[in-house]
C-alpha cells in the first residue's frame, strides 16, 4: 500500500451531562451522593462570592492585582474527583480548587495583598502554590507523578492551566514526558476562551485543545466545563486511569471567563458584551442550582442559609486576614526561606536592611 491512511488509535470525545436547563443525561449521570452534590454546590457558590468580594476589596485598594474566576467555578468538580493523597499543581485561576482542597481564604487574601506569607501551605495539603508563568507548572506534575509511581503510591497529580498555556513549549514537553513515562497525571486545561485579549481561535489553529493529546497518543476528552457533573466524571475517569497505571490524560474544560483577565485588565477593549452575555446564560452555578432544585436536593430555604453561611465564612476569613496582615509586616521576612540557611552575603544584607529600618523609625 504505497499510499494509505495511518490508523491512529486515539480519538477525542466530547462530554456533557447537565444541559443548560439543568436536565441530566441519565446514562452519564455519575450518581453522586446528595452530600457531595451539596458540597459541590456550596464550593461553587463560595468561590463566586469570594471572587466578588475580592473584586470589591481590590477596587478599594485593600488587595492588589488578582485573577477573577467568575464563570469557571465548575472546576470544583475536578477537585472533588481527587483524593487527599493526590496532588494538585495549579496555575493562578484555581482559587475554587484551592479552597476546596483546604487553603484558607485568608491565605489567598494575604497573598494578593502582597504578603509572601500568603504562599504558606499547610503540611499534608499536597498542593503547590500558585504558579504565575503560564504553562510552566505542568512538568512539575510530571515529576510528582513520577515520584508516585517510583514510590508505588496509587495516587495521581492533577495540574491546571489555561487555553493560552497550550501554546507554550513547556506544555508540549510535559505532555510528551508524561506519555513516555506513563505517569499518573491529569492535565486539566481550563479553556476559558481568552488568554488576556487573545481569543481561543487565534491562540491555536486546531478545532479543539483536547486533540493536542493525539500528538502523544494520550487519552483525551473535551468536556463542558460549565457542567460540574461532566467535569467531575471526566476527571474521575482520568484519575482512575492514572491510579490504575493507565497513564496520563488531557482534559479540555470548555468554559468562559466572565470577568476580566486580572483586575488590571479591561476586557471591553477586546470582546463584545454580547459574547459575555451568551456565556452568562450558561452560568455553571445557575445550571447546577436548577438541577439540584429539580431533583429536590436543594430548596430556596437552603439556598438562603448557604448564602448566609458563606457570607459569614468569608467575613471571618477577612478578619483573620487583617489580623495576620498586621502581624506579618516584618520586612526582614524577605530573607527568610531564600535558602535553608542564610548565606554570608544575605546575612550582611539582612543586617543592612535592619539598620535601614531602624534609621527610618
Amino acid at each position: 500500500m504505497p499510499i494509505r491512511e495511518i490508523d491512529l488509535p486515539n480519538r477525542v470525545k466530547y462530554l456533557s451531562i447537565l444541559d443548560q436547563e439543568g436536565q441530566v443525561d441519565e446514562a452519564l449521570d455519575p450518581r453522586l451522593s446528595e452530600e457531595l452534590l451539596l458540597r459541590l454546590y456550596r464550593g461553587m457558590v463560595l468561590a463566586r462570592r469570594f471572587d466578588e468580594r475580592m473584586l470589591i476589596m481590590q477596587r478599594q485598594g485593600k488587595i492588589g492585582t488578582f485573577a477573577p474566576i467568575k464563570g469557571q467555578e465548575a472546576q470544583v468538580g475536578a477537585a472533588a474527583a481527587l483524593e487527599e493523597n493526590d496532588w494538585i499543581v495549579p496555575s493562578f485561576r484555581e482559587a475554587p480548587v484551592e479552597i476546596w482542597r483546604g487553603k484558607p481564604m485568608e491565605s489567598i487574601l494575604l497573598y494578593y495583598s502582597g504578603y509572601s506569607e500568603g504562599g504558606e501551605i499547610r503540611e499534608g495539603l499536597n498542593m503547590l502554590p500558585v504558579s504565575v508563568p503560564v504553562g510552566s507548572q505542568m512538568s512539575h506534575a510530571v515529576g510528582i507523578g513520577f515520584g508516585m509511581k517510583y514510590r508505588g503510591q496509587k495516587s495521581v497529580a492533577a495540574t491546571f492551566f489555561g487555553d493560552g498555556a497550550t501554546s507554550q513549549g513547556d506544555f508540549h514537553e510535559a505532555l510528551n514526558f508524561a506519555s513516555v513515562y506513563q505517569v499518573p497525571v491529569v492535565f486539566i486545561c481550563q479553556n476559558n476562551h481568552w488568554a488576556i485579549s487573545l481569543p481561543r481561535g487565534r491562540q491555536t489553529n486546531s478545532a479543539t485543545l483536547a486533540q493536542k493529546a493525539l500528538a502523544y497518543d494520550m487519552a483525551a476528552v473535551q468536556v463542558d466545563g460549565n457542567d460540574v457533573l461532566a467535569v467531575y466524571s471526566a476527571v474521575k475517569e482520568a484519575v482512575d486511569r492514572g491510579r490504575g497505571g493507565g497513564g496520563p490524560t488531557l482534559i479540555e474544560m470548555v468554559t468562559y471567563r466572565l470577568s476580566m483577565h486580572t483586575t488590571a485588565d479591561d476586557p471591553k477593549k477586546y470582546r463584545s458584551e454580547q459574547e459575555v452575555a451568551e456565556w452568562e446564560s450558561r452560568d455553571p452555578i445557575t445550571r447546577f442550582e436548577k438541577y439540584l432544585t429539580n431533583r429536590g436536593v436543594l430548596d430556596e430555604q437552603q439556598v438562603r442559609s448557604i448564602t448566609q453561611e458563606i457570607k459569614a465564612q468569608i467575613s471571618q476569613a477577612e478578619q483573620r486576614w487583617q489580623e495576620a496582615a498586621q502581624k506579618r509586616i516584618d520586612p526582614l521576612g524577605m530573607f527568610e526561606h531564600a535558602y535553608a540557611e542564610l548565606t554570608p552575603a544575605l546575612r550582611d544584607q539582612r543586617e543592612m536592611l535592619k539598620k535601614e529600618l531602624e534609621d527610618k523609625k
Partner: protein, 326 residues
C-alpha cells in the same frame, strides 16, 4: 513639543518608525487589539493592520525565534515580552541565534531585531512581574542591551535600537512608564546606543545608575545637595551593552568617590562591572571604596516588602554619606 510619559514616548517611536519603514513589524502577546498590557502599542493595530502588528500566541520563545527569522529575511521586527520576568523563555533563542547569526554566517545574515520588555519593581505587581535581570542579556556577547530612564531618552533610544543592525534587548522601566512627563519632540530624535550621559553634574561624588533607579538616585542627589551641601554627579548608563565607561571613569577621576545604584541583585549585578572598570581605569583616583546601593540577593518580594527591597533614597544617601565619610 508635547509633554509625554514614557509609554506615550515609546508609542511615538514605534509609530514613526513604522510610518517611515515598512520593514518594521511588531509582534507580541496582547500588543494588538489590547494595545499591550501597558498600552505601549496602543492604536498601532488600527493604524498599521494585522500584518504589521501581530498578536501572537502565548509563547515567548517562538516570538523571539520568529523575530529572528523575520530579521534574517530583511524585516525589522520589534517584539514585546509582556514582562521581563517571562523573557527568559526566549533567552536560548537570543543567546543561540540572535546574538550569533552575524558571526556564524560571517556577516551574511544579521538580526536587526529589538526585544522590548518592561522590567523592574515598584508597581505592586504579582510574582515574576518585578524582576531586574538585565545581566542575563548584558553578559551575552552579540546582543546589545539598553535601559532608558526618561520618556525622551526612551523614544530616542528605541528609534536607534530599531535602526541598529544588531539585536537589541530593550528593557523599559515600568516604574517610570507613567511616573512623569517630559517634552518629547515630534521630529525625529535618536540617541546612540552604547553612550551614557551625565544626568546631573557635580564634583563631590559620582553616582552611577540606570533605568528606574535613576529616579531615586536623582532624588538622593537633590537631598544631599540640599541637606549636606554635597554635589553628586549622576551618570545614567543607558546602555549596559556596549557599556560606556568613559563618562563615569572621567567623573570618578574628578570626584574620587562613587556609589553604584541599581535594583537588580547586588552579587554579579551590573554594579560589579562598573566597579571593576573603575578599578582597572581609575584606581589611583579612588579615595574610598565604591559602594553599591542595590537590590538584595533575594527574589524581589511581593509588594508589601517591595519598597524595602528596592534601593530607595535612604539607601542611596546612606551609601553616599558613608563613602564621603570614609
Amino acid at each position: 513639543m508635547a509633554k509625554m510619559n514614557m509609554v506615550q514616548a515609546l508609542n511615538l517611536a514605534l509609530r514613526q518608525e513604522m510610518e517611515k519603514d515598512d520593514r518594521v513589524v511588531l509582534l507580541g502577546e496582547d500588543i494588538g487589539v489590547d494595545g499591550g498590557v501597558f498600552r505601549v502599542t496602543d492604536g498601532l493595530l488600527d493604524k498599521f493592520g494585522p500584518q504589521r502588528v501581530l498578536d501572537t500566541p502565548l509563547a515567548e520563545s517562538a516570538i523571539a525565534g520568529m523575530s529572528i527569522g523575520m530579521a534574517v529575511y530583511g524585516l525589522r521586527p520589534v517584539c514585546e515580552m509582556q514582562f521581563s520576568g517571562f523573557s527568559y523563555y526566549a533567552l536560548h533563542q537570543m543567546e543561540a541565534h540572535a546574538s550569533r547569526m552575524r558571526a556564524r554566517s560571517q556577516g551574511r545574515y544579521t538580526v536587526p531585531m529589538v526585544l522590548r520588555a518592561p522590567y523592574g519593581g515598584g508597581v505592586r505587581a504579582l510574582e515574576h512581574h518585578s524582576e531586574s535581570r538585565e545581566i542575563y542579556w548584558a553578559h551575552t556577547p552579540g546582543l546589545k542591551m539598553v535601559i532608558p530612564s526618561t520618556p525622551r531618552l526612551a523614544r530616542a533610544l528605541l528609534v536607534s535600537a530599531i535602526r541598529d543592525p544588531d539585536p537589541v534587548v530593550f528593557y523599559e522601566p515600568k516604574a517610570v512608564y507613567r511616573a512623569f512627563r517630559e517634552e518629547v519632540p515630534e521630529e525625529e530624535e535618536t540617541f546612540p546606543l552604547g553612550k551614557s550621559r551625565v544626568a546631573r553634574p557635580g564634583g563631590d561624588l559620582t553616582l552611577i545608575s540606570y533605568g528606574a533607579s535613576l529616579m531615586p538616585t536623582l532624588e538622593a542627589a537633590t537631598e544631599l545637595s540640599e541637606k549636606d551641601g554635597v554635589e553628586c554627579e549622576v551618570i545614567d548608563l543607558l546602555s549596559l551593552s556596549p557599556l560606556d565607561d568613559r563618562l563615569f571613569i572621567e567623573s570618578v577621576k574628578k570626584t574620587g568617590r562613587a556609589v553604584v545604584v541599581h535594583e537588580a541583585h547586588a552579587t554579579f549585578g551590573a554594579g560589579a562591572e562598573v566597579i571593576a572598570r573603575i578599578v582597572e581605569k581609575a584606581l589611583l583616583y579612588l579615595e574610598a571604596p565604591v559602594r553599591r546601593a542595590t537590590g538584595f540577593d533575594v527574589v524581589i518580594p511581593l509588594y508589601q516588602r517591595e519598597q524595602d527591597y528596592l534601593p530607595g533614597v535612604h539607601r542611596i544617601t546612606k551609601a553616599v554619606r558613608e563613602t564621603l565619610a570614609f
